[in-house]
Symmetry: C2
Subunit: 437 residues, 2 copies
């Protein structure tokens, strides 16, 4: 393919023409093969951001991204396989609960997870706070563990959709991130490259998500669903609320401890409800059971300890200390400074800036601003108030787990600044805006 052909593809997208699948795939092959410069790719990406991409163009781009690396197959497993992915939020430990919960219900969860970036946390980072736990599972190890335990959460190999990493780095460097089709291609290429029977997708909407409104999140949900359909894969996509942190814990070891609390049946709230909703959706999809029955079975699996037992088995299989399932803080790393978080003023919580709280936790050391930065598994924030709750000035509303008193005080100020207090009653957004697929 000559260089001028690649420019013609960019010119066509610039001029508003819909590209053929061959044009998109040829351009992407040129990019991954080095024939298309970063500069030409960047002008292409900006043209895609501004002129949009239709379902066919997005599917072609996704196909080219998947073709850039290897794929993972789970065919031959006896149990129905499920993948579950969240587009990223604050205090979103649902995967930690969902994977063993679904396994306890007879499903097989094969999950290649990601790391936190910016204000969002990542499942791998959370899991790795458990001493000894490995996430660098080979494809064979992953498959064997899924067959034996029913669930495994590992890191994707560098050769799983390598074009996505390169393209995302370029988008990040060239202000071409915000595009529904490009985001959908990035998310779904990594899901479609892993051959499970069902893809569950949690598209977050709100102040702690990349999609700030439910409408935007719905557009992303539909784009992702279109890609799964175009690829011939079953998917169910939920748009869920991220206008406040989902759980109370915003960190890594803190999130594991909270997930264990949910798995022990002792925690009631949105984190449990969402894990149950996803497990029920997977169970309903896999067999003859209806949604209500599936939901009831998931609730029981949390209350009778069978989900917790699968969690313990998963941790143990991955080399982690299984005592985390009984007494998390007996094994999890603890921050040197733990201070109560007290409300700076009185009123009813009208809104919580979840992104600000995610960034405050990141500033303590729990997150990273740049890919590859180290994180501190022990630090983070616990905020025990939600929209609609009344707080009184000086009342303890959570805790700060920090390396020192100064950073704890900074985080306390940031959390209080992220709370909007008022006098009127306030109702939280619905947990689930809707299901697609």
């Amino acid at each position: 393919v000559r260089v001028t052909d690649h420019r013609q593809v960019v010119a066509a997208k610039r001029d508003g023409r819909t590209l053929t699948a061959a044009e998109v795939e040829g351009f992407m092959e040129g990019y991954t093969g080095g024939d298309v410069s970063d500069a030409l790719a960047a002008s292409f990406l900006m043209a895609c951001v501004l002129n949009g991409m239709d379902a066919g163009e997005t599917l072609a781009m996704t196909r080219a991204m998947i073709a850039s690396g290897e794929t993972v197959s789970f065919s031959g497993l006896e149990r129905p396989t499920v993948d579950k992915h969240s587009t990223g939020g604050v205090s979103d430990g649902v995967t930690l609960v969902f994977a063993p919960l679904a396994a306890s219900l007879g499903l097989a969860v094969a999950k290649l997870s990601g790391r936190g970036l910016g204000h969002t946390g990542g499942t791998l980072d959370k899991l790795e706070s458990i001493p000894g736990l490995r996430t660098d599972l080979t494809p064979d190890e992953l498959r064997a563990q899924v067959a034996e335990v029913g669930c495994a959460v590992g890191a994707p190999s560098a050769n799983l959709v390598p074009a996505d990493g390169a393209l995302y780095a370029l988008r990040d460097a060239t202000a071409t991130v915000p595009s529904i089709p490009l985001i959908a291609a990035s998310v779904m290429s990594k899901k479609l490259a892993v051959g499970t029977d069902l893809i569950l997708l949690d598209v977050k909407a709100g102040s702690g998500a990349f999609m700030k409104t439910p409408e935007e999140a719905e557009r992303l949900a539909v784009a992702c669903l279109d890609l799964a359909t175009g690829w011939g894969r079953a998917a169910r996509v939920a748009v869920t609320d991220m206008s406040q942190p989902l759980g109370d814990a915003v960190g890594n070891a803190l999130d594991v401890a909270e997930a264990v609390e949910v798995l022990q049946g002792g925690f009631r709230g949105r984190m449990r409800d969402l894990a149950v909703a996803f497990a029920a959706a997977a169970l309903e999809h896999a067999g003859s059971v209806g949604r209500d029955e599936a939901t009831a079975r998931a609730e029981v699996a949390l209350d009778d300890g069978s989900a917790l037992e699968r969690f313990r088995a998963m941790v143990e299989a991955q080399g982690g200390d299984p005592r985390v399932a009984e007494d998390p803080w007996a094994v999890l790393p603890k921050a040197p400074v733990v201070r109560p978080l007290t409300a700076a003023a009185s009123g009813v919580v009208q809104a919580i800036d979840a992104e600000a709280i995610g960034l405050a936790s990141g500033a303590l050391g729990a997150g990273r601003l740049h890919k590859g930065d180290p994180i501190d598994p022990a630090v983070g924030i616990v905020v025990r108030v939600k929209v609609g709750d009344r707080v009184e000035a000086g009342e303890p509303i959570g805790a700060l787990h920090a390396r020192d008193g100064g950073s704890a005080a900074d985080a306390a100020a940031r959390v209080n600044a992220a709370l909007t207090l008022g006098e009127g009653e306030a109702a939280p957004a619905p947990l689930v805006y809707g299901w697609f697929g």
Copy 2:
């Protein structure tokens, strides 16, 4: 300036916000200084192509481009100084006539000219076909010659608006060329960097121009005029016809010979008319003389040999063989093969694809597809028919000056294919669509 700030500028342009002058200039400084990557610059350029740039943004970009290098001053000259620039066409030798013509009328023409690219010719390439002629004048040589002879045509130094060369190469490589504001900034940065009393701009419209319609050309004319006004410089801009070659000669030595014919007073036609129109506009601007009187004086200067005399002096001052002014073919390089061009069919010329004829001449060796490629000064095409003329099959309608018979035959076929013949009468487009400023 931090990298993230540069990305924020691109994000703002992407999101449709009008940039401040400081933002545009900071970004451009980042680009020329190496802080902004080619990829980020490319995404910025595509955002500018698709979301547009207003007059303030375009002026700020132009200012930053000019600030990237040195400027040339002609202050202190006794005569009013004029620069004249064409956006590029086919058989556009007007500058070769205009410069000595305006000099003969008492003006001083200081012209830093360009080279041909693609289907368009360049004044420097044409002039350099005169044996011995130098265009690499230093600023001091240029100024001394303008003071003494009244006109000089030189090559810009590499340090005159260096950002334009870099930016144009990037635009060419990233499909971000077609943008009125970016083209205006490119054209005018090089004019505004040279301090003359008047800028004359010839914006070409039609099949042989970059702007294919008069409407598009008018938008570019207005954008260029806005830049001159914003910079505090006098400018007059004409939108003129390039829907067919302006003169008959399409080459380099061939164009010089044709220009000499005009300067000798023997040639009537659009090339002479346009040179007269620009000289009259300059003379009118410089003094108390009206347009009709200015036009009459320019006509006289062509007919009485005074313009030719300035041409001879200019050629001599730049080291060229002055006999070119009396007998061009006594000194100009000749092609080894000269063949008559005959009409392949009969009919009235309805249209001439000037770009195709420019490319046919380029294929003979008279032009270049890539910056820096060598050209052959001797070869080219002469086409002596215009829109509205009747031709008969087999009738000689011009000549092919080639290196060999094969390329001459190819060129003949290409020229005939570029002619649209029909039975009805056909009227040419007006020579001048309008003046601005």
